[in-house]
């Protein structure tokens, strides 16, 4: 899986490209946890190019969320398509994560 990473102001934006499932979530986890290790203050996961996510992907993001909160950082999600959003809603995690419609809105909250 290709994962783009870039920094805007104090936020690090992670942009995975493709489906996030049991196979590809390993790469996403590595990327997220490497940034958690650096205690990045604001981690933004841009899911605009993710068409499909299963519970493995959700678990990876929950792990990242808990790890960032442990050091006082923030992890937020942005650009969720309808399929990905549905998985968060079904898991009742849409109220647990900060979720933004677009990058501009998310970055303004940093």
């Amino acid at each position: 899986m290709k994962i783009n990473t870039r920094t805007v102001d104090s936020a690090v934006i992670i942009e995975p490209i493709g489906d996030i499932d049991l196979y590809s979530s390993i790469e996403v986890r590595k990327t997220v946890l490497s940034l958690v290790k650096k205690q990045v203050p604001f981690l933004l996961i841009d899911l605009g190019r993710v068409e499909y996510m299963d519970s493995s992907g959700v678990a990876t993001l929950v792990e990242g969320l808990q790890a960032t909160r442990a050091y006082g950082g923030q992890l937020a999600l942005v650009n969720l398509g309808s399929g990905v959003k549905a998985v968060f809603e079904l898991s009742r995690l849409d109220k647990v994560f900060e979720i933004y419609e677009n990058l501009e809105e998310a970055i303004s909250k940093c």
């Binding site: 499932d21 196979y23 519970s55 990876t60 929950v62 399929g83 998985v87």
Partner: protein, 138 residues
């Protein structure tokens, strides 16, 4: 006439995408709505993931067989594994208020499908039957 396809994959996560594509296409052929297609894809994917993680404990070289059948009133997927028997009574969703990584697969399967029937009575392994009935809009 019922229309059935059968897919056999090794229990390696890299093959899950092939399963999802096949499920999605079968749902399209059945004339299901986009949401029903996405739900079926998610349920079958989660079921395969559970087989890989729990029944085969991550071994990538075991067999998973997925059979999909289009009926007039529903679409049905039957998943077979040939691993350790799992007691259906032990298959539970986790409490959703307990926010932690993992344990959501069974909850998602039961949320998006109309029926999910676990059966460990085959001579070898386990069988899961997933059914989605057609909605009027489909």
């Amino acid at each position: 006439m019922n229309r059935t396809i059968e897919i056999k994959i090794p229990s390696d996560p890299k093959y899950l995408k092939i399963v999802r594509r096949a499920v999605a296409h079968l749902c399209e052929l059945a004339g299901l709505s986009r949401q029903e297609r996405n739900n079926s894809m998610l349920a079958v994917d989660e079921a395969c993931t559970n087989i890989i993680r729990h029944t085969y404990k991550g071994a990538p070289d075991k067999l998973i067989v997925i059979e999909g059948t289009i009926f007039n009133d529903k679409i049905m997927f039957v998943l077979r594994d040939f691993g350790e028997k799992i007691d259906p009574k032990t298959i539970k969703s986790r409490e959703l208020n307990d926010i932690r990584p993992g344990g959501l697969g069974v909850h998602l399967i039961r949320s998006v499908m109309d029926e999910a029937i676990y059966d460990n009575t085959p001579e070898i392994g386990n069988q899961l039957t997933l059914i989605k009935y057609r909605t009027k809009e489909a």
